[in-house]
Subunit: 346 residues, 2 copies
Amino acid sequence: MLSFSCPIPLNEYPHVSMAHGGGGTLMNALIQKMFVATFEGETLKAMHDGAILPPPNGRLAFSTDSYVVKPLFFPGGDIGSLAVNGTVNDVAMCGARPLYLSVGFILEEGLSMETLWQFVRSMRIAAASAGVEIVTGDTKVVDKGKGDGIYINTAGVGVIERNVQIDPRSCRPGDKVLLSGPIAMHGIAIMSKREGLGFDTEIQSDCAALNGLVDALLESGTMVRVMRDPTRGGVASALNEIASSSRQGIRIDEAAILIPEQVRSACEILGFDPLYVANEGKMLAIVAPDDAPRALEAMRAHPLGRDSAIIGEVVAEHPSTVVMKTRIGGTRVVDMMSGEQLPRIC
Amino acid sequence: MLSFSCPIPLNEYPHVSMAHGGGGTLMNALIQKMFVATFEGETLKAMHDGAILPPPNGRLAFSTDSYVVKPLFFPGGDIGSLAVNGTVNDVAMCGARPLYLSVGFILEEGLSMETLWQFVRSMRIAAASAGVEIVTGDTKVVDKGKGDGIYINTAGVGVIERNVQIDPRSCRPGDKVLLSGPIAMHGIAIMSKREGLGFDTEIQSDCAALNGLVDALLESGTMVRVMRDPTRGGVASALNEIASSSRQGIRIDEAAILIPEQVRSACEILGFDPLYVANEGKMLAIVAPDDAPRALEAMRAHPLGRDSAIIGEVVAEHPSTVVMKTRIGGTRVVDMMSGEQLPRIC
């Protein structure tokens, strides 16, 4: 049962102090009352140095991300939900069912305990919604000024139960490129908040766990070559990575890529190309040509894939390069982004 | 083949910049040339969103720690070797053979590239020495002033191949408490460096991977109830956690606990009780009474357990409490440490 009020007495401990990371009674109370009680799992309660888990029935997928997003709260999520969904998605993109998460908190001395509690609640809700268990964790506190409120690392373990071979090197000319919906929402939600841009309607991050959508796609029996969630660097960077690993060309069609009108306007104001802007709830999938229709049908039947579309294909020409057919009928190379576009977006 | 010079051109990129975490070409070059080339594994080279790993033959152990140690270099190690050994040890304490590590870097803008390279090299050497593979990772860069050079998170996955049941709740009165060697070396090495204390001989951290020692102990056929590496909070906190989980009492004998003379002097100067000072290469094991002699023999036969000793036993009296027989013949309760003693020790 998820408590709605902070389980640490705020009148006594309104802020995180160095002692909350010191290995003594205060740290113990924080871990037991806030983390273990909220994340609930039996494995976590055992409080070993690590989690002991049953033998998985298949290959493993293992991934990690640290989250340093700024601001910590944004329309559509916060660093807590992002830290769960982001790692769930990385594990799911391996063709795995995400099972377990670890959580490493790096807290800045002086962080409001109430704020920490909101992130912990968000993580619990996101984990329950994605069907993963938080099984082990760690808490560190760094001196005031040596952090930025909170950084969260999560690592995820999943099991690959199906006989899938997710590998960009298996891409062949003719394969279709599918995208699960409109792009650039997460990055623009963050940047609008950070820059204090006032739009008529708030742009929401698409932050969501994609394991259900992945499951729907794999369940359809589609031959999936590779899946990727286009986060930092956006759709352009993800496709460039795939083109580079597979040594194939990729051709995409600008007209097939959905960009919400508000996102497009914000990109123009901020000077961003939406192809390079981060997503946190979208998936790219490259599938065998004959399977594209059923892949599309399976993805569209899932709430997070309603707006899925075939946006391009793998081609033998221009190996390792992504080329886009523009709306006005020309073509242009979509490069790997150089340098930074949106720092601290996740 | 481990390169000895930094694989990123230092004249071009003497420092980490925000763009090294931005998802574009600079980040890609850092990941490929420094991390993937140094950590070497085939799994890492595949550059999926996560690592795809063969089905493990047994239960899993899964653990994580973030490392925020200050200073980043200390006698006997650095944040890189600590980040590998610390998580290897947490996995090993579950009775598992550590197999895979994930690495999450949080780099502060302006960190010297040469310094980063030293940590990456340290990690590679420590991983090879412990026999674990770094299979997946993540890199974030935070603004200057919003970090402290570098924070590293590692998560570890291991397999429990033996039919061991490591669980503090299995402790029974009469069980023996073994300790693998002299204590408080890591904490004092850090504090001496931080406080600029000049001792005649430098105190070295005991930072080391304990999986070999654990393997030697389990291989002896000893019935092991629980193992723990007494890091933050030291031997006193680790034993208190075990006493609390098992609801048994623990009695230890001060005379049996080795404290190097220099460490003892430093503790006196700094006002620390060595029982609460962190170790990074020591192990506590609680074993069935009849197995204690062979456990001791197995541990002493290993280079990291040469000075192993039986330091106490589990008792029915004073449940959940640790009591120490002092050198002068009295007894005192060894409490859970309250508050902080040594912040940012690991």
